[in-house]
């Protein structure tokens, strides 16, 4: 039983670090700030949450486990809020989308 717990925890660790790597590669390769945000705030959050869950599985006492899970919930709640605020601020200031973007739903209409 304890061996199974250790194996599951190791798997969560490796999967979570791969998610973090994918997020940073997306941050490197994608063309503008909005698409980079799409990589960083989804895959990055997923990666660190998976690693905190691995810590919660691995921990033996309930105190550490509940604190790690509280960290997961907190991170899941705050990451979308902060990246949404950043995207809204960048769009309002006027950072343009990349020229390969096909759709801009927030573009102001002409028929005012």
């Amino acid at each position: 039983m304890s061996e199974l717990v250790t194996l599951v925890s190791a798997a969560f660790l490796v999967i979570g670090s791969f998610f973090a790597l994918v997020a940073s590669i997306g941050l490197l390769r994608l063309p503008d700030v909005y698409t980079r945000m799409h990589a960083a705030s989804k895959a990055g959050t997923m990666g660190s949450c998976l690693m905190l869950i691995a810590l919660a599985i691995h921990a033996t006492d309930t105190g550490t486990m509940s604190r790690a899970l509280a960290g997961v919930v907190f991170f899941l709640l705050t990451a979308p809020v902060s990246s949404h605020l950043l995207a809204k601020a960048a769009y309002a200031v006027g950072y343009r989308l990349h020229s390969s973007a096909v759709m801009d739903d927030m573009k102001p209409k002409d028929n005012a």
Binding site: L13, A20, V33, R36, A40, M51, L52, L55, A79, R96
Partner: protein
């Protein structure tokens, strides 16, 4: 047969290596990152990777006090990103941003003109020169 402890040790080492690699890639984006929102996003990503590091170190050493540090670091990262977003909103665009955007648009137009010229010469037309000149001229006006 490999023991479970060996597998676990290798998994921890692999996770640390991958996290270090993604840390370096994110730092490259922060240093290069043409605009301020790119850099703020990179800092947000760095906080996420640091939380992952803390989780791995907590598992490796069994020193679970670091979980509290992870929660506090998440709070600080969230507040920093929100404050930076307000700063971007109140600062507006600077000349650096306009310059880098113009540079990016020029390189995109050059890439497009080159691709169009290559497609045209691939199809075997004789009028490659003037047509490519016309497309690039139109994109420069945009």
């Amino acid at each position: 047969m490999i023991s479970v402890a060996t597998i676990f040790d290798h998994a921890v080492t692999l996770a640390l290596a991958i996290l270090s690699l993604s840390f370096l890639v994110t730092i490259y984006r922060i240093v290069k990152g043409p605009t301020l929102p790119d850099r703020i996003l990179g800092l947000d990503m760095l906080v996420a990777i640091a939380i992952g590091f803390i989780a791995v170190i907590g598992i490796k050493t069994g020193y679970t006090l670091y979980v509290d540090v992870a929660i506090a670091l998440g709070l600080v990262g969230f507040l920093a990103t929100v404050a930076f977003a307000r700063f971007v909103l109140s600062r507006g665009k600077t000349e650096d941003d306009i310059l880098s955007e113009a540079r990016e648009a020029a390189s995109a137009a050059r890439r497009q003109a080159k691709a169009a010229a290559k497609a045209r010469s691939g199809s075997g037309g004789m009028d490659t020169g003037p047509a490519a000149g016309k497309t690039s001229g139109r994109q420069d006006n945009e």
